[in-house]
Subunit: 414 residues, 2 copies
């Protein structure tokens, strides 16, 4: 057995970068996700039950029978060409025409975020994100120690008008990139409107800035028509990130980047030293899964389930949350963003919620500073409808109690 | 279609780290590996033919039938506990007792090298490696911009006596770690002797230094008894890297780290932002594969094949290489290291070899500077015996021609 260590004898060895790394609050919360009695609104887990099991097994069987040697051997750093071709078909469904030559396969889009941070960010560089933004992106960016400017979002997505003001202030040190989650935003649940997409592209082109478009949820639209990705409007100024985590499976860890060739080349060089290549096995599985049209089949199964769960959550919020609380009404994706009265601190309130057997992610996890402290992210894709109704009722109880407490102490007028 | 780009309009955006990243020479050589007429001594590909195919399919089948939902869902950042338990059994075969709690699953050991570089190396920090050393490690380290001191190797592995002298010179800025490949070294083919392992541990303990022990090939021993890993002698001062790439399959991308808890914790925090988690699918496959005793079965199949191929290569080298050439005699692994007369430049000679339809990796790829220019790495695990005989014959022809050329010009006495 190694010695028991109560302090860290290695602390003098760590790099400066290691000091910037932060653990995702969500990951720490995951430890409660295993408790069966807690309604898990804190996860970002897609539902796996909707997957066509027989077909999944048949696809894997075919991969192993027809391509065993290839599946088990090293692959190309850039990823398999046939997989990239198959992914182009998926992108086309949202109106984006990509080319396999301009793509890189990554270990989920999380790896893309990490590689992008590393090839672009020097410590102290400016970057721009939405506020709130995806916590995994914040973790990846933060490891490279940038200064992060956040732009608020409303029901139409990023406040592009406020972006312009921020960019004016950053004129002397323009940001390395503007990171955007256009569809069914994680955590905000909102979608960037058509007109704002156009404005965003104009801004990027005029100022010669790079946009990172992260689109894990685009195909998970419950209603309305798909809006053309930002990348479809400007290939020169946008790096596009896709992933199969939400439309096939997160367990296969297949993501991709579509970007201008010089950027793909840099990313591939770094991917080579990061992990050589992504598993051929997962890639071949994904490629046959897509080519058999199973993503569509899976979406047909999943979307009605998610939509009903969203509906139950929305009506439960209406029923159980006290006045002074607001929330977004996503037309797809996995998440609803709830805003409580400004004096409530959702991080402090979390233990009370856990006691009442319901979990969520405190809003401040999605900001680089301490903003969002009166907000929370709720996941509706994973818990079943009954669980959702029960969970929101419990949540309502906790919030009411908290509001009453502040009210009785006269702290609600701060 | 994106615009055709002849220069890089994004060059002003790249981070300083991006400037240090280098592409592996081996990867570039891989493009010739597809040419069927060339004998590929340049690869590092294990032979996949030896895998028990029926069992591989049966294992995957069982994973999907009994654990489909788990296999396709997100996993823990640290990796699956049952896999780590199974890996402990593999480590025990070489005399190393590990604990799942002190392990992290990585995407091949390449990811471990990358994560380690990032948590430990600041630009300009000193690190120590063998010279030659694994090119993938050099790529991972180089991205973090350290100053690399190399220690020569001989038939007994790293010259630990010379290590001491180097450490004395580095006294004011002690290295962040000493990176060692103890068994069937890539590229040198040599094995660190029992007594040098002991000395190395003593040095690390006396000077309070960290050793990174990278052991991908330990179980690929053709003759003699396993030598206890360095980690078994000092848990406090050694980070151990293992991988299934050479004993199961590189395509599943399963590697691991065994290290003191504070280091595992740092690595896990970074892995989370690097790719969230490794694929559950690969992990569950690996865990059942090991638990069914198939690694042993696979090794029983592979080792006689590799041993014969090594024997053919050794006798062919004896037959076809001119005097003034020497090579290592590995007792396991995949590689032989050939040293030519000092005036030969193997990088310059490579096009001639390709013309003669044989490839190798020039020695300088395995050094951080331009050392090793008269050396080459030959892989004997991938080509079949006949191919090996033919390839070495071709290689002998190229080398003789080159020696004669230098001789006729009087340049061989430089």
């Amino acid at each position: 057995m190694p010695p028991e260590i109560s302090f860290d004898p290695y602390s003098s060895l760590y790099s400066e970068a290691a000091q910037h790394m932060r653990s995702s609050e969500i990951r720490d919360l995951m430890s409660t996700a295993g408790r069966k009695d807690i309604v898990p609104f804190s996860g970002g887990l897609p539902s796996i039950e909707g997957l066509p099991k027989t077909e999944v097994i048949s696809v894997m069987d075919s991969v192993l029978k027809n391509g065993l040697s290839e599946a088990l051997q090293y692959g190309e750093t850039e990823g398999r060409y046939p997989l990239k071709s198959a992914l182009c078909k998926l992108m086309a469904r949202e109106g984006l025409k990509g080319e396999p030559e301009h793509m890189l396969i990554t270990t989920g889009s999380q790896q893309a975020l990490d590689l992008i941070s590393r090839i672009l960010i020097n410590p102290g560089d400016a970057i721009v994100t939405e506020g709130p933004t995806y916590v995994g992106a914040l973790c990846a960016f933060t490891a490279a120690a940038p200064r992060v400017t956040t732009i608020p979002v409303d029901e139409e997505g990023m406040r592009v008008d406020l972006l312009e003001e921020s960019l004016d202030r950053l004129q002397d040190t323009p940001p390395k990139f503007i990171y955007v989650i256009p569809n069914f935003h994680n955590p905000a649940g909102v979608t960037l409107s058509q007109s704002r997409r156009g404005k965003l592209v104009n801004i990027a082109e005029e100022r010669d800035l790079l946009i990172i478009e992260d689109n894990p949820y685009g195909l998970l639209r419950f209603e309305g028509n798909p809006i053309e990705p930002i990348t479809a409007r400007s290939r020169k100024n946008v790096v596009y990130l896709g992933t199969l985590s939400k439309v096939v499976s997160p367990g296969i860890r297949v993501g991709w980047v579509l970007a201008p060739p010089p950027i793909i080349e840099r990313l591939a060089t770094l991917k080579q030293s990061a992990d050589l290549c992504s598993p051929n096995l997962s890639q071949m599985f994904a490629e046959e899964y897509i080519n058999r049209g199973l993503v569509e089949k899976n979406m047909e199964n999943l979307k009605p389930v998610y939509r009903s769960r969203r509906d139950v959550m929305l009506s439960s919020l209406e029923e159980h949350l006290p006045s002074g609380c607001t929330w977004t009404k996503p037309r797809g994706g996995l998440f609803i963003w709830v805003t409580l009265p400004p004096y409530i601190d959702t991080r402090k309130m979390l233990p009370l919620a856990i006691e009442e057997k319901v979990s969520y992610v405190p809003g401040s996890a999605f900001f680089p500073d301490e903003s969002g402290s009166n907000c929370m992210r709720l996941n509706f894709s994973y818990p079943a409808e009954e669980q959702i109704a029960t969970g929101v009722k419990r949540l309502g109880k906790v919030i009411k109690k908290e509001i009453n407490l502040y009210h009785s102490l006269g702290l609600d007028r701060e």
